[in-house]
């Protein structure tokens, strides 16, 4: 082997790689294209994206083009970065907590769709954003290590501190913010004191859902903050009953996922058509077993049996989006103060 052959190999590989990157970008040509901005897991091969596009393309003689970013919060950041130049016709994947902020950007147009027949707990309705699925936040526990899960938020807060829970950080993640609002909705002005008590039970606070759920499935803690629908995945896809959600007597905080059309939509009619399609049975039937969330309207066939065995909260909490936007910083500060005490 000559002295510099390895270096040569490197440079050749790099040239080939650069060429590959250039050719990987082919243009998509179609006469009418609907551009949908969404979060990334919506368009993975097992997500709802491909099926939704196929079903909608049958009805519209158009092409659906997805742009995926990390998550709902990132969607809004992306829109703010792009400003008026954004190519998005539809933005799908914000949640109710982001609605007020999204409206304040002025990028969105009213959908003008009569949203009757939608079954969303918490009475959410909005002139700009339409819901397409929802899930309740819940404490998911491991039945093998936790025989008596807490039956209420109060029991979680005041229970045995040696039974740990992993939660997400409200500064960096939506489930984290969800738990913060849940505690606020139940405890009101006492929320700070409740957090100070819960603190001893918290094993750690992760930046996002993936880290928390990863620690939980590795067995590091018997509980994690997730969704009432999480057990459905394990039951349907893995045929396992091991992980279950705990029903809390006070009720559960809800996360409703919504979509809206932009003011500068290149294809406003098509965008409106998509929003109407979104609440119809074709779209709704795809959601449960691909996005692992609850549908907001009738599906073509009954949901898989596992969904009937999920926790169905009797009481739903949902703080108005404007109130969340106004108080988020103060509430996070309250959380920080309570959680940082020694």
């Amino acid at each position: 082997m000559s002295n510099s052959s390895q270096l040569k190999l490197f440079s050749r590989l790099a040239l080939a790689a650069a060429a590959g990157l250039v050719f990987a970008h082919h243009a998509v040509a179609a006469d009418k294209t609907l551009t949908v901005y969404t979060y990334e897991s919506f368009i993975t091969e097992w997500g709802p994206g491909a099926k939704v596009a196929e079903a909608f393309e049958k009805t519209c003689e158009c092409k659906v083009n997805y742009v995926g970013v990390a998550d709902g919060v990132e969607l809004l950041t992306r829109l703010k970065l792009e400003g008026e130049a954004s190519k998005a016709d539809i933005v799908l994947g914000l949640d109710t907590n982001l609605v007020a902020e999204a409206k304040a950007t002025g990028f969105f147009a009213r959908h003008g769709i009569e949203a009757t027949g939608l079954t969303v707990p918490g009475n959410f309705s909005d002139d700009t954003f339409l819901p397409y699925d929802y899930g309740h936040f819940a404490v998911v526990y491991d039945t093998e290590t936790l025989k008596t899960p807490p039956k209420s938020l109060k029991e979680l807060v005041e229970g045995d501190a040696s039974q740990k829970i992993v939660i997400e950080d409200p500064r960096t993640s939506t489930p984290g913010l969800g738990l913060l609002l849940w505690v606020k909705a139940v405890y009101g002005d006492e929320a700070g004191a409740a957090w100070a008590k819960l603190k001893d039970r918290v094993l750690t606070v992760t930046p996002g859902w993936s880290e928390a759920y990863g620690l939980f499935t590795k067995g590091e803690a018997p509980m994690v903050l997730s969704y009432t629908t999480s057990p459905a995945y394990h039951m349907v896809a893995e045929n396992s009953e091991r992980y279950q959600a705990a029903a809390f007597s006070e009720g559960h905080y809800i996360q409703i996922e919504v979509a809206g059309m932009t003011r500068n939509a290149g294809e406003p009619e098509l965008a409106k058509q998509f929003l109407a399609f979104m609440t119809g049975p074709d779209f709704q039937s795809i959601i449960p077993t691909t996005n692992w969330m609850m549908p907001v309207a009738a599906t073509k066939e009954p949901l898989p049996d596992a969904f009937n065995r999920l926790v169905k909260p009797e009481n739903t909490f949902l703080l108005p989006s404007e109130e969340v936007a106004k108080n988020r910083k103060a509430w996070i500060d309250e959380w920080l103060a309570a959680m940082s005490k020694n």
């Binding site: 590959g20 995926g68 500064r171 880290e211």
Partner: protein, 542 residues
């Protein structure tokens, strides 16, 4: 005459590199600053930021101390034992932690150190009830040492291996005992490398984010990087994000300046370049000590890596290996890693040479010293500029040109190349200084210049550090998620991106399988990067 012209060209090339670098960062920051931010009327330096700053300093200082203190004896032991079974593999594995996405590394560490981990299971089996808790400052330190001790070890080891053979021969003739060898031969070399290595580790720990939150046990353990992320993400307040980055840079910059006082000008000993042979460390105590350090480092490093590999083996690897999405991600990741590593190494080599040319003591003016200083500072401090800030800035700049996603590969490669510069610089700079001291005058007097010198003198002699720099830069870029995240489009899915996406939709087994692939790819790069075996064989033939 010719030499002068060549020097001028070297300096111009270095200045162009530095200029591009400064422009790339500067433009991004200007673009972000001109963006009207969120509702930010709160003071920048409130109690929260002070607390976060204090914690950042505390954990980064402790992490650095531990990493370096662990690395020194390990590097020394490895240098003293150049030929044991599996040595090359230990060195290769040392490049691996950097190439793993932090979350993967963290989960591996938890399998060993966690509540249900290997260690605690063992302790419980022995009848000890109280488990060792990884959640808290202890866990952060363990994780940072896991990620950074190997890096520091490789940097120190490279320095120790550059010590001329003549030194060891003379020391043996003088019958110098082990502690004297350390004091007079090894320590001066280590001390010269210490500020660079410690500074690098400090910066990596100060900007740590996922590890600090995941293992920290609560928000009392937060770094400035968390606040930057928060400012840019939930609050969309670019000016605040930049102000916080500036705080981070100022703070760490001061620390690096302090560290530089530790450094002494390394003395480059002349050598005939014969194969280094060490005569020390033959006593059984020395053997035992070296063996213990090497075993300890091996276990500490390899156990979590093995845990990652075992989790990966439980996945349906065949299905993953046939998945076209995985193929695309593998190719994309490899292409980005190769391109950014080559860019980074080229840039670093040009800038180091330019800095050395202008700062050669006889004709160094204050302007020249400033130029050399700017190169040293910029190649270090870049690590403190969050990639998300650069990405967002360039997103804004490219927006008027139409579809930003088209530029994503170029921007991601550029950001990764810049982020690898501090590593590459620390590997190449000392090696190039030694090389220059040993060959400069001779090549000049023989009139070997330009491409000829590069081909016949520089590249052959510097092959080892060049390859090591390439492999580190590639590993680094392979594990990176930050730069890709913002541009993320269907056309450019890297392996870590795919891994996180599977993990985010309950597919933990798939994610573990992908982590194994990522680790293997990284290992392949490091095998290409450690060419020692080949050379040894060649040496024997000759």
């Amino acid at each position: 005459m010719f030499a002068l012209r060549e020097n001028r060209m070297t300096v111009v090339a270095g200045a162009v590199c530095l200029g591009t670098f400064v422009l790339f960062v500067g433009l991004a920051i200007v673009a972000l600053l001109s963006q009207t931010g969120g509702a930010s009327d709160d003071a920048l330096f409130d109690a929260y930021i002070w607390r976060v700053t204090r914690f950042t300093l505390l954990q980064a200082t402790l992490s650095t101390l531990l990493s370096v203190l662990f690395a020194i004896p390990v590097a020394r032991s490895l240098a003293r034992r150049p030929q044991f079974q599996g040595r090359i593999w230990l060195l290769r594995l040392m490049a691996l932690p950097l190439g793993l996405p932090v979350l993967v590394g963290a989960l591996g560490l938890i399998e060993i150190w966690g509540r249900q981990g290997f260690l605690n299971s063992g302790l419980r089996w022995l009848g000890l009830e109280q488990p060792v808790s990884i959640y808290g400052l202890f866990g952060i330190l363990i994780a940072h040492v896991f990620f950074n001790m190997p890096l520091a070890t490789r940097l120190f080891l490279a320095g120790l291996e550059r010590i001329p053979a003549e030194y060891w021969r003379s020391a043996a003739n003088l019958g110098m005992p082990s502690h004297a060898l350390f004091r007079f031969i090894e320590w001066p070399v280590l001390r010269g490398l210490l500020p660079g290595a410690a500074g690098l580790v400090f910066m990596l720990c100060a900007t740590s984010f996922t590890l600090v939150l995941t293992l920290g046990g609560g928000p009392a353990a937060s770094t400035i990087e968390v606040a930057i992320y928060q400012a840019l993400r939930f609050d969309f307040d670019p000016p605040r994000a930049i102000a916080l980055s500036a705080l981070q840079i100022a703070m760490t910059g001061l620390l690096l300046l302090l560290l530089r006082h530790l450094a002494t000008e390394p003395e480059e000993g002349m050598t005939g370049g014969r194969t280094v042979r060490r005569f020390d460390g033959a006593s059984s105590i020395a053997r035992l000590g070296d063996g213990a350090w090497i075993t300890l480092a091996f276990l500490f490093l390899v156990a979590p890596l093995l845990a990652v590999a075992f989790s990966g083996l439980e996945a349906d690897l065949l299905k993953l290996a046939r998945d076209p999405a995985v193929h695309r991600a593998l190719l994309t990741s490899a292409a980005i890693a190769l391109a950014s590593a080559l860019a980074s190494v080229t840039m670093a080599a040009v800038m180091i040479r330019a800095a050395a040319t202008v700062a050669a003591p006889r004709r160094a003016t204050s302007l020249a010293r400033g130029f050399a200083g700017a190169i040293a500072a910029s190649t270090s401090l870049i690590l403190l500029v969050p990639p998300v800030v650069l990405g967002a800035g360039w997103f804004l700049l490219l927006r008027p040109l139409g579809d930003v996603a088209r530029f994503a590969p170029a921007i991601v490669v550029a950001i990764n190349a810049l982020m690898a510069l501090p590593f590459v610089h620390r590997i190449l700079a000392p090696a190039m200084a030694t090389h220059a001291a040993r060959t400069e005058r001779l090549t000049a007097s023989l009139g070997i210049r330009g491409v000829h010198r590069l081909r016949w003198i520089d590249v052959p002699a510097l092959r080892k550090p060049l390859l090591m720099a390439l492999s580190f830069a590639m590993a680094l870029s392979l594990g990176d998620l930050g730069a890709v995240a913002l541009f993320g489009s269907q056309d450019m899915v890297t392996l870590p991106w795919l891994l996180y996406s599977r993990m985010g939709s309950y597919r933990t087994a798939d994610a573990a399988g992908l982590a194994l692939f990522l680790g293997l790819l990284c290992l392949i790069f490091t095998i290409l990067g450690t060419a020692e075996n080949d050379r040894r064989r060649e040496g024997r033939k000759a």
